[in-house]
């Protein structure tokens, strides 16, 4: 599963990527995380608030570090 984490590389963006990796490891799911850090590319998803998460080409979250349960729902 490919997941994009949109954000300028701040602590919250890193925490988001780390959380996704952790939940994936817990559930035995295989995920590939791509970090999108360039502003022009981030806004190209229609997103202004970061961190944001794109799963299956769809923005599923934006503006904060997601919760463990949210990540779980994306992976299932």
């Amino acid at each position: 599963m490919e997941i994009k984490v949109l954000g300028p590389g701040c602590a919250k963006c890193k925490a988001t990527a780390d959380l996704i990796n952790r939940v994936a490891a817990e559930t035995g799911k295989s995920v590939q995380i791509e970090k999108i850090e360039a502003m022009r590319q981030i806004v190209g998803f229609g997103v202004m608030t970061t961190p944001a998460v794109v799963v299956g080409g769809k923005v599923v979250h934006k503006g904060s570090v997601p919760t463990h349960d949210q990540v779980l729902s994306w992976l299932n």
Binding site: R40, V43, F45, G46, M48, K58, K62
Partner: protein, 129 residues
């Protein structure tokens, strides 16, 4: 959330404060995306300006006219660049970002409201003005 449409955005047009002055005199609208508290300290003066803070921009971007040249500005030009790209994403074509923002606007001696000292000072740098 709604279905996402990913777009490859064209590079934003960027103009310095001096060029902005000219465009504003020719009828452009300045959209200041700084927060309300920042604008209360020091604001862009001598031009037609509206304040849409970046924190509210996703909810209020439709207040920006499409049929008029628009210059987006903030303190140093980074937040307004994001807002510029967001408007481009929304299909706006007559938008430009003011590079260097209020800091250089004030340093050039252009009109402000409030306390010019709150604009901050810049070290070095230049624009066409």
């Amino acid at each position: 959330m709604n279905e996402t449409v990913k777009k490859d955005l064209a590079e934003a047009r960027e103009v310095c404060p001096t060029t902005s002055q000219r465009l504003l005199k020719e009828g452009a609208l300045l959209v200041d995306v700084r927060e309300v508290s920042e604008v209360a300290q020091v604001g862009y003066g001598g031009c037609d300006v509206v304040n849409i803070p970046l924190s509210q921009f996703e909810d209020r971007w439709q207040e920006v006219p499409r049929d008029r040249d628009v210059i987006l500005a903030c303190a140093v030009g980074q937040r307004s660049l994001k807002a510029t790209y967001f408007l481009i994403y929304q299909g706006y074509t007559r938008v430009a970002n003011m590079q260097y923002g209020m800091q250089r606007w004030a340093a050039r001696g252009f009109a402000v409201t409030g306390d010019v000292a709150a604009a901050g000072s810049e070290v070095g740098g230049s624009c066409c003005g």
